[in-house]
Symmetry: C2
Subunit: 79 residues, 2 copies
């Protein structure tokens, strides 16, 4: 078994109202010095060792992300 | 400026219907070998170098995560 992390983020040119809401709330709550916040999704998958990187890329691009508006990264981590 | 990543995940004892939906869809789409999927949130913050780790922890715990049901991690990455 391996643990795989897939991070999905809105592309830079895509507006991100959730991230903007967080960025706007921070100064009101007394936190200064944060100039930008972007919010995406974080998936943790438990996969058999038989699942190769190509399959993981298909899962990320086809099911976890919307590649029209989102970028994604896949990385294997120690379980 | 520094780039900070905050990952927020449902605690292990908390049900995760979004992750379960993904895990259930994978075999139907022809992807075998993924035994578990958990879905959380992934934040990327651009912060001044003056923002210390204690402040980042307060932001993560107080604003980005709900610590009753979610775990969070903070890490600085190369921008």
């Amino acid at each position: 078994m391996a643990r795989v992390v897939v991070d999905v983020m809105p592309k830079p040119e895509i507006l991100d109202p959730q991230g903007q809401a967080v960025a706007g709330a921070l100064p009101r709550l007394g936190f200064e010095g944060v100039s930008d916040v972007r919010q995406g999704k974080h998936f943790v998958l438990e996969v058999d060792d038989s699942v190769d990187d190509e399959t993981l890329a298909k899962i990320a691009e086809g099911l976890l992300a919307n590649p029209v508006i989102e970028d994604w990264t896949v990385r294997r981590v120690d379980a």
